[in-house]
């Protein structure tokens, strides 16, 4: 059983005990602990259940690679699932729950899955539950989902704040072990701007635990001195608790800073996402130890040898009192020595190599430890914790093992450089036969826009395994990267020697000839319950690609992305395929290196700043006066202004009738306003619009259509000619930015020699429509401009001062009534709005919203972009042939509109629709014809594009696109509602109200 040692623990402060709760047990740890070390210190060896079989699982690692110890951390608004106990710093009051156990860790009802494991082989998701089909949705999926329970989503809004931060540096160094520190020192001396990130709260990585000497002093002292030197350099920034999360094109990298995870609720932001641009990136990400594949290697108490050393030395925690060490390399002997130093018992070292007379093994033997070479663990005894191991010959089948009693096993299968960040942006790998690992190939580095490398590696991340090599590699690679960033410096590494070690021996299965029964208990991927037998089965079933094998077996998926399992898994795959490991290759390394919080990605984008909300100058007035909002792009426009006790429908009816009968007021500020100016402005306008705009006289307005190059109607609006060289184009509210970009696109890319400039002045103007038979009287009452029919006729515009406010008045109408659209500087729009309201009281002036606007335009048969158009409709479909110039050689969309399908008489065309019973047709309803189509669906012959109950006419009116529509006036069509009821409607003219346009032209 694991326990806290009486002494030791370089990172903990025994004077500061901290209370925490795990799985409803109150426990105690120390300041400086991780949740994992505190759990082990409190005797918690069993911390979770596995994902698929619900096998008991303990802590395997001491860092980011931990696959098992995932917890739901915190409560309520600070609950977060999938938190790794090994990277969670302990704080007072921490609460954590194991994620996969139900009803409890000790008794898990789902553990039955373990007995069933023979029936849950590789790819079982794909092949087991195919039949019967309906069972998938109702039986298999819900059962599997609840059984394979990982983290639960939080139920409350996140209580914390997050932020982004943009940083620009010459040299970004990712990883603060001795290699990262050496690289930063070299880079710092070059004068480059340096940012060094370290994911843990501590600098120096493994070196203090491993007990190396650097520059003739203990590693710990060299680290402290180097840190002090770096901190004194103005051009160097050090950041702990900040992980290099991803490396992207053009020297872009993400850093994930966990600012206050270790002191939640203290008011500081929780996470900061660093968005970094670096000239050169050096990854000093170290290496991760690999597990060994022997039967029962997942029983709680089996741990990576290096992790065990970390717990003893860093936290004063013994993962067991009697520890069997199993290895294929010399590094595990350092764990043996650390355990002996801590007063723990090592009954035997099981060394898979045939012989070992290296200095580390000799030292272990000198300390009285038995070393058995050429040996293997046949299997681990115990279910919820290690009770012993059975030993056998390394090259055998695993029969007739010899028992050894122990309560923990330390395993080491060799070391793999952390190549993730190197690989994110395309860095390639080479296989080392000597160390049985992939390491970065500097000749195939990620390259930038100039074709030159922008990522390099330092230390163990390069594949350098000895202390001296690590430092030399870091200094020289950093110096080279500095040179590439424009800061020449001579590499000068701190002095250290590589320890003498006996070569490792690759061991992928233990024992080598293990029988199937053993292979079925050898876990490769602890997190996803993938075993040696699963990979071998996948290979037999034809999975040769490592990427496909990953998806089929789930090897290396999910939260840890196979940090422990990948190399072992692909070695098994290679062996099964009789291929070399490098030929099988690795799966793709994708960012982030470890999961990062959604909060950090969102940054400031939550609450009021979730998305920009565009407000007109009258927005607050609308809000105060009860506007019911409609989103239009990022704008909010009043849909209607319901009064006390009034429904939205009632409000809309009131607004329409008040406008038609007397006087209405509309905030039209959102309307797009684009200035087009230059000697070629007329020519440009003729290309943009389907009709002729160049002939428009200054002082006049013209309605126009814009199509895309495929001929489809894209936007519409009224253009006004300001002077000989200048037009003002009104676009739809949602279309202003898009049409502005469209104009710039043509001017910059196609007609770059045309003399035209465009400016988007949408927001310069507040625009107010004064609409209704009394509109003129109101403007005359305000005074300042002649708005008579003679001075300002329909489709004219004038400039002047209206009641002392500089204004442009456009006599245009989207309602069919006498209407003036008044544009004033945005800063004065609210003033004008108030004055209009006050002066208009005598005519019961009524502000109206977008729904009244829509109804009034539909009554007039005016189309609406987005209602009558959907990206497949051409102006000719809408009876807008009159707005298409026949005289122009060209306009955008002209050629497309001449294609056979566009000129086909079979296209659906716009008509008005009037139900026989006076009701309003359902929006989007289809008119059905005779027979069925090739798919057995009822043939359709038309559809509703706009439909309203007209307050003016007291009946339902609609527009729709109908096959041969205009030729079928008076015909009755059958429309089917979603409840399959049938509504009959007669084809009529789309202009329901004032067809001769007498009311707007008075």
């Amino acid at each position: 059983m694991s326990k806290r040692l009486e002494q030791g623990g370089r990172l903990i402060d025994r004077a500061k005990p901290l209370g925490f709760v795990f799985d409803s047990n109150r426990l105690e740890g120390y300041a400086g602990d991780t949740l994992a070390s505190a759990l082990l210190g409190a005797g918690k060896t069993l911390v979770n259940r596995s994902y698929k079989y619900h096998r008991p699982r303990g802590i395997v690692a001491s860092g980011a690679e931990e696959p098992n110890a995932l917890v739901g951390l915190g409560q309520g608004a600070r609950f977060e699932p999938d938190q790794r106990a090994t990277t969670t710093e302990l704080f007072d009051g921490l609460t954590a729950m194991p994620q996969n156990a139900w009803p409890s860790l000790g008794f898990d009802a789902m553990a039955v899955n373990g007995w069933m494991s023979a029936f849950m082989p590789a790819g079982f998701y794909y092949k087991t539950f195919l039949w019967p089909r309906a069972f998938w949705k109702h039986v298999y999926e819900p059962v599997i989902r609840s059984a394979a329970a990982s983290g639960r989503p939080p139920q409350e809004p996140d209580a914390d704040r997050y932020e982004h931060f943009h940083a620009f540096v010459d040299m970004l160094i990712l990883g603060g072990g001795i290699a990262g520190l050496q690289a930063a020192l070299t880079a710092g001396q070059s004068g480059a701007r340096v940012l060094l990130l370290e994911q843990t709260p501590h600098w120096g990585g493994r070196a203090p635990v491993d007990g190396y000497e650097i520059d003739g002093k203990p590693a710990e002292r060299w680290i402290a001195e180097t840190l002090a030197t770096l901190e004194a350099m103005e051009n160097v920034t050090l950041r702990s608790r900040t992980m290099g999360a991803g490396v992207f094109d053009h020297g872009y990298a993400l850093g994930y800073e966990r600012v206050s995870d270790h002191m939640p609720g203290d008011g500081a932001i929780r996470h900061r996402l660093w968005k970094i641009r670096a000239k050169q990136i050096v990854t000093a990400t170290g290496a991760i130890e690999r597990p060994l594949s022997f039967a029962g290697n997942d029983v709680p108490g089996v741990m990576l040898a290096s992790a065990m050393r970390d717990y003893v030395v860093n936290y004063g925690v013994a993962p067991g009192e009697k520890v069997v060490v199993v290895t294929n390399n010399d590094d595990a002997y350092r764990t043996v020595l650390a355990l002996i130093d801590a007063g723990l018992e090592v009954p035997i070292v099981v060394d898979a190599r045939d012989r070992n007379d290296g200095p580390l093994a000799r030292e272990a033997m000198r300390r009285g430890v038995a070393v058995e070479c050429g040996a293997a663990i046949m299997k681990v005894k115990g279910k919820k914790r290690v009770e012993g191991v059975m030993l056998c010959r390394a090259n055998g089948t695993g029969g007739a093992g010899a028992p050894v009693k122990c309560d923990a096993v330390a395993m080491s299968g060799g070391w793999s450089p952390v190549v993730h960040l190197w690989s994110h942006c395309g860095g390639k790998l080479t296989w080392s036969n000597e160390n049985a690992h992939f390491y970065p190939d500097p000749s195939r580095a990620p390259t930038g826009a100039d074709g030159k490398p922008f990522v390099s590696t330092a230390g163990a991340a390069s594949g350098a395994m000895g202390t001296g090599s690590v430092l030399t590699d870091a200094a020289s690679n950093a110096a080279e990267a500095c040179g590439a960033a424009g800061y020449a410096v001579t590499a000068s590494a701190a002095q250290a020697v590589d320890a003498e070690e006996v070569p490792m021996k690759p061991v992928w299965v233990m024992p080598e000839q293990a029988l199937p029964e053993l292979r079925a208990k050898m876990f490769l991927d602890f997190q996803n319950d993938v075993k040696v037998a699963d990979i071998q089965l996948a290979a037999k079933e034809g999975y040769e690609s490592v990427e496909l094998t990953k998806r089929y077996t789930t090897l290396g998926m999910a939260n840890d992305q196979g940090k422990l399992s990948n190399i072992n898994g692909l070695a098994i795959l290679a062996d099964s395929l009789n291929a070399e490991i490098p030929q099988v290759g690795t799966t793709t390394f994708r960012p982030p290196y470890q999961p990062i919080s959604f909060g950090s990605i969102a940054g400031e984008a939550r609450g009021a700043t979730f998305q920009p909300l565009r407000r007109t100058p009258m927005h607050e007035w609308h809000e105060r006066n009860g506007a019911y909002w409609e989103p239009v792009g990022h704008w909010r426009r009043p849909y209607c202004y319901p009064k006390q006790g009034e429904s939205h429908d009632e409000a809309v009816v009131r607004e329409v009738l008040a406008t038609r009968n007397s006087l209405g007021l509309l905030d039209a500020s959102t309307l797009g306003k684009l200035i087009v100016k230059g000697p070629d402005a007329g020519r440009f306008m003729d290309m943009l619009y389907t009709n002729k705009m160049s002939t428009l006289k200054p002082g006049k307005c013209r309605y126009g259509l814009m199509c895309n190059e495929n001929g489809f109607l894209s936007d519409d609006g009224v253009a006004a000619r300001i002077d000989a060289e200048t037009f003002l184009c009104h676009t739809t509210s949602g279309g202003a930015d898009r049409i502005h970009g469209w104009m710039e696109d043509w001017l910059q890319c196609e007609w770059w020699d045309w003399k035209v400039y465009v400016a988007n002045v949408t927001e310069q103007w507040g625009q107010i429509a004064v609409v209704g038979p009394n509109a003129r009287k109101l403007l005359e009452k305000l005074g300042g401009m002649d708005v008579s029919k003679e001075a300002l006729p329909f489709m004219g515009w004038a400039e002047g001062e209206l009641d002392g406010i500089t204004a442009r008045i456009y006599r245009i109408s989207f309602s069919g009534e006498l209407s003036y659209e008044i544009a004033v500087p945005a800063g004065e729009a609210m003033t004008l709005w108030s004055r209009l309201l006050t002066a208009g009281r005598e005519w019961s002036i009524t502000p109206y919203g977008t729904e009244a606007l829509h109804i009034m335009r539909a009554e007039k048969g005016f189309i609406m972009i987005g209602d009558e158009t959907d990206g497949t409709v051409i102006p000719q479909d809408l009876g807008l042939g009159w707005a298409i110039s026949k005289k122009k050689d060209d306009y955008l969309g002209k050629r497309a509109q001449e294609r056979s399908h566009m000129t086909s008489p079979e296209r659906w065309k716009l008509v008005g629709l009037e139900t026989l019973d006076g009701s309003a047709l359902p929006d989007g309803a289809y008119a059905v014809g005779e027979g069925v189509n090739a798919n057995g669906q009822r043939n359709t012959i038309g559809r509703v594009t706009s439909t309203y109950m007209s307050p003016t006419l007291g009946k339902g009116i609609a527009m729709g696109l109908v096959h041969h529509g205009p030729d079928r006036m008076g015909e009755v069509l059958r429309f089917v509602a979603t409840d399959e009821s049938v509504i009959e409607a007669k084809i009529v003219s789309p202009v329901f109200y004032d067809p001769d346009g007498e009311k707007q032209d008075v």
């Binding site: 932020e163 982004h164 931060f165 943009h166 940083a167 620009f168 701007r193 940012l195 920034t237 500081a268 932001i269 900061r272 968005k275 641009r277 940054g603 400031e604 984008a605 009021a608 700043t609 998305q611 920009p612 909300l613 565009r614 407000r615 007109t616 100058p617 990022h634 704008w635 200035i675 100016k677 230059g678 000697p679 003399k755 400039y757 465009v758 400016a759 002045v761 949408t762 927001e763 310069q764 103007w765 009641d803 002392g804 406010i805 500087p825 945005a826 800063g827 004065e828 609210m830 003033t831 004008l832």
Partner: protein
């Protein structure tokens, strides 16, 4: 007559190391044209020399900022905007250009305090280190999710402009960013 108002009526927010405040009305003119032909007109109208790329030049109560290879932003007192446009028209008569009043299309903010650089660095993907960004520098960039431009005065104060309709959003973002402690990366 009427009194024009800014979008937010001078809203302000003070954080531990930076303050944000909406500025008073500011005359702004967008001038597009071949920059190599505009220098004389710009100097006559504003007293400012043509700014270099990503720079802003100030002279008295006027300034000229570089916005793109064919666009300048002229800053003048709000009351002088229309006469500035008229003066440009006169100076540039017969030469292809576009001068338009955009004073009311914008909101502008002052960001100051020891943490001002870091406030902007939280929201804008621009290099705000003193080596890259000092007085007279201007960036046309984005502020969180909206377009913005900002520059630095001699005093170290930043001025940021954005579209008027998103003034509340920009202010909320800036106020949120200035509510934090120093990041400790920029001086």
């Amino acid at each position: 007559m009427s009194e024009a108002v800014t979008a937010l009526g001078g809203a302000s927010s003070a954080g531990p190391v930076a303050q944000v405040e909406e500025r008073a009305l500011q005359g702004m003119v967008t001038l597009r044209g071949d920059l190599s032909e505009l220098a004389a007109a710009v100097e006559t109208v504003t007293g400012c020399a043509m700014p270099d790329k990503r720079r802003i030049v100030q002279a008295g109560d006027k300034a000229v900022g570089w916005m793109s290879p064919d666009e300048l932003l002229l800053l003048v007192p709000y009351a002088e905007t229309s006469q500035t446009v008229a003066a440009l028209e006169e100076q540039l008569a017969g030469r292809h250009h576009l001068a338009v009043d955009v004073s009311d299309a914008r909101a502008s903010f002052r960001i100051e305090g020891p943490g001002a650089r870091e406030v902007l660095a939280r929201l804008c993907p621009a290099d705000l280190s003193p080596a890259a960004f000092g007085p007279g520098e201007l960036r046309r960039t984005r502020l969180a999710q909206v377009p913005a431009a900002f520059w630095m005065e001699e005093s170290g104060t930043f001025t940021l402009v954005c579209f008027r309709s998103v003034a509340t959003y920009a202010f909320d973002c800036l106020a949120g960013a200035s509510a934090g402690e120093a990041v400790g990366f920029l001086p």
